[in-house]
Symmetry: C2
Subunit: 254 residues, 2 copies
């Protein structure tokens, strides 16, 4: 019987800029009685990675340009946030009242370039917002290497964020980065139980891992940004998150 | 510590039209040593529900109309399959070579109206394909009622299918139906840890459950279409899958 177990790490501390995130994660694992094993996957919420990497920006230090002002009027958003969104993006997909969907410079199509005001520390005279990590794939690789160094087992790391989706209501956790596992499992050419070749079977492994972790990670006030997922192993060779990003020109749904 | 455990039921038999699916599932649970508990979620692959409900169609009995022939040329698909896709759909979203994305009559935007040739029984002189269940929500409610009757505990049922997504490569399991749990958890108006009101926090619970189950369900040859997910509980009131479907006119991404 294939069993996957997903544990949220209780008591994870507030993350401050410059902190050693791998050490915090390792300590939290042990405090939760979890000793990492080979093929364990640590799913880490983007927010704590961004905070550790000091991706906080004070809106009082942002000056909105003309394009940001125009889009701020169209979307009814703070022009300074729109300025940051534009600085983190390569394309604007949709801008209407309350909605600003962009293609992030990392390739993800997402709302507000992932810039978030919730669960950001309150500092007097500052209006802090949090950007995505500069390079989440590099962050995941470094975290993984540090955790492997500490525990001596080949674990994997996924960095997750919560995305809205076209055509469906509600957010779902997806992967921003994957280190040590196949973000995509390409099974085209394999056969079904009757010997028929599978037609369209590329499986978004890293997104499924992130979504599963979302069941215990929660949002808002829970404060469980790190999750251990155990018992899942995909035999495909590791590949990074770029394999999950479809070029805009090849998008099949538009 | 919040722990979710996901078990794939081994040894699930081939499903034939007219079979008592609830009985098969109940038997498989016991054979796998799993006694259902309150709040357990059974995730059932659409394929076995469709087979049990005899949603098999022989392509030799399908006559393609003019529109189907036109779209078959544009997409390089079998005109009889295209005819079935159209009969199951309300809108064609995109039709290009190899790709036919529609809005299914149930509301889901998906490729080929979910019609599938893989893992369908081979019968001489027939070319069988499998449609989605006529009414997956009703199927889920009936399965749930039958399993509650047998085991005497308040469990939930999700029917899942594998979807492609705009802008991202690879398929992900999503929910076609949910009975006994909130398909959508609407947390708008709640606050984060610093007291700031959460801005956009509707969580696609049923889709996250389906995606998580997908980690152990596999595709193709594995034959594990039923999964037990234990340890997840969402306090929101149950609501069905329609809460996850965004009207085309309100889609934010186009």
């Amino acid at each position: 019987m294939t069993a996957v177990v997903i544990d949220a790490l209780d008591g994870f501390p507030e993350v401050h800029p410059g902190v050693d995130l791998a050490r915090l994660i390792g300590d939290a694992l042990l405090q939760n009685g979890l000793c990492p094993q080979a093929n364990d996957i640590l799913v880490v919420a983007q927010k704590v990675v961004s905070k550790a990497e000091n991706r906080l920006v004070d809106l009082n230090e942002v000056t909105a340009g003309r394009r940001a002002h125009e889009l701020a009027i169209a979307t009814n958003k703070d022009p300074r946030i729109v300025e940051l969104v534009l600085s983190e993006s390569t394309d604007v997909i949709r801008a209407v009242r309350g909605v600003l969907i962009v293609r992030h410079r990392l390739g993800h199509v997402m709302a507000n370039a992932g810039i978030d005001r919730s669960n950001v520390p309150h500092v007097e005279n500052k209006e802090l917002v949090l950007l995505l990590p500069q390079d989440p794939e590099a962050s995941a690789r470094v975290l993984r290497a540090q955790l492997i160094e500490r525990f001596g087992v080949e674990l994997a790391v996924v960095i997750s964020d919560s995305f809205g989706r076209p055509w469906r209501v509600g957010t779902l956790n997806v992967a921003l980065a994957a280190a040590g596992l196949p973000a995509l499992h390409d099974r085209r050419g394999q056969t079904d139980r009757n010997g028929r070749v599978l037609e369209a079977t590329q499986i978004a492994v890293a997104d499924a891992v992130a979504a599963a972790a979302g069941l215990v990670m929660g949002e808002g006030s829970e404060g469980t940004p790190v999750v251990l997922l155990r018992g899942f192993f995909c035999e495909a060779p590791p590949c990074d998150i770029k394999s999950l990003i479809r070029p805009l020109a090849e998008d099949l749904f538009r």
